[in-house]
């Protein structure tokens, strides 16, 4: 699969601070890609470089194979971008701003008319004649997504599109992003894990200016899920919790509401043979033995050390 974004050894230094420290990243075309990281990890800096707003100190960043350093109009013509806090002209209406944005792309009048109507509807702003200066944060974000789509971009880049929104505004923006799935590549930075789980199919986790992992979400969960084992016995669960806790390959035990035990293990193959043997030796029935579900949050906390 072709890459919409290819980043290699990207480094950005501000004075003494390394905002990006050799970032490598590939965003497959057609994916909804979550760029996840705690505040200050370097997400916005990466997006600013990708959009030509900032220059890298070292390394390369390419969008559809073209270097973004000194990004030309040809590169920008293929992308739609929503910054974390979009700035609008307060004296314009939504329709006027979308028309202006479309005119910057050189979109013809009839096509622009159709797109503006569709995007105003997508943003839930039909019939709103208020000037942009009077918009709520949610309305601004929705218009921000709409203006980023005015050129029907091959790549949509969104920087923290849901941060600082109330639950309803967040849902509206996520619904908009979700509706784009399969139509365009979406590169979506956030520190909100549940947003990524909801709309993204692939994720990269950035921490202190480095990409610590990149994979499809399911693969990532499966990779980290192999360290969890759910064990349910017919009786003596407390005794087994104690016995499992004494094993060197068990690092943590959690009790679920239904009485099952979730073991965090260092050697999954050893655990899969040792657990049934221990249960059989005690003469107790084994009701359930399966790999545990792991949430993206657990993966994230594990990878970034819980300092988000």
């Amino acid at each position: 699969m072709n890459s919409a974004i290819e980043i290699a050894a990207l480094t950005k230094v501000y004075g003494e601070k390394r905002a990006l420290d050799g970032v490598d990243l590939q965003v497959p075309e057609g994916s909804v890609f979550g760029f996840l990281g705690p505040n200050g990890a370097g997400k916005t800096t990466t997006l600013r470089i990708l959009t030509g707003l900032a220059r890298p100190t070292a390394g390369t960043a390419r969008v559809f194979g073209r270097d973004v350093v000194g990004a030309t109009n040809e590169v920008r013509a293929d992308i739609g971008f929503l910054p974390d806090v979009p700035g609008f002209y307060p004296w314009m209406t939504a329709t006027e701003f979308l028309r202006f944005a479309g005119a910057l792309f050189g979109i013809g009048k009839s096509e622009l008319d159709a797109r503006v109507d569709a995007l105003v509807e997508l943003a839930g702003l039909t019939g709103v004649t208020t000037k942009l200066g009077g918009y709520s944060r949610g309305m601004r974000q929705r218009l921000g997504v709409a203006q980023a789509l005015i050129n029907a971009p091959k790549l949509l880049m969104l920087d923290e599109p849901t941060s600082a929104l109330d639950p309803i505004g967040r849902k509206e923006v996520l619904d908009m992003i979700e509706s784009l799935g399969g139509r365009t590549t979406v590169f979506f930075s956030t520190h909100i894990l549940s947003d990524v789980e909801r709309v993204c199919d692939t994720v990269a986790i950035l921490h202190e200016g480095r990409v610590v992992t990149q994979a499809p979400i399911d693969e990532l969960k499966a990779r980290y899920g192999t360290t969890k084992l759910v064990v349910e016995v017919t009786e003596a669960a407390d005794e087994f919790a104690e016995r499992f806790g004494r094993q060197a390959w068990v690092s943590e035990i959690e009790r679920l509401d239904d009485g099952a035990l979730v073991l965090t293990v260092s050697d999954i193959e050893l655990a899969r043979t040792a657990v049934p043997a221990m249960v059989a030796e005690r003469g107790v029935g084994l009701r359930r033995l399966e790999s545990g579900e792991v949430s993206l949050e657990e993966v994230f906390v594990d990878l970034v050390g819980g300092d988000s």
Binding site: N73, R76, F81, P83, V85, Y89, F105
Partner: protein
Amino acid sequence: MRGFGAFLRKEVSEIVRTWRIWVLPGIVLFFALSGPVLARFQAELIATLLPAGESGLTIQVSEPTFADAYVQWTKNLSQIVLFAVIIMFGGMISGEKRSGTAVLVLTKPLSRAAFVVAKFVSYAGLLVVAVIVGALLTWGETYAIFGEAPFTQIAEATVVWLVFALLFVALMELFSAALDSQAGAAGLGFLIWILLGTGALWGPLFRYSPAGLISAPNALILGQAEPLMWPILVSVVLTLVCLLASVAVFRRREL
């Protein structure tokens, strides 16, 4: 310069639909209309400031003429209107950077050169139109009050001032591209104005630089003007240099 036309239309709309249409044109038109009246009643106004018949002081004020009205116009242009330009235009570029609108438009196919040039064209256009309308009003009102108002004199003085003012528009754009602070850019603008005013005392600078244009509008009205070819030529060249420098500086800036 793709996107130039669309961005220039936005700039013109912004001027027409926001406070910008009121402030600079308002200042220009106020002084355009008040100048001839002040010139006509100058003697009476001065007389009201003196204690009647007590001081024994006699001030002789010559009969006002159209030249007094014109000098009021050029004096106001050279001071108040230029100061307004320096203060208002100090945020030409930094204002869009600060509000976040520059990020939205410059991630679309609008080059930074087109952004800078469109800003210059729109702001310079606002100034030129306001000053030409102001000059015409002063001319008409002067004729109505004094019965005499040679057009060439006010036209020449206004055009010469506009050449000098456009240099300051370009300078303010350069400072606004380089600095995030509107006040900082305005401070630099005032510094340049003071340096030029001081430098005008030195002959070569007066004859071959924009410093020679500071007092030129008044001198043209009073028939005392020195040759202006070099100051005008150098000012035009410097305006273009400042515009190119603004593009170069803004291209290098991270947003």
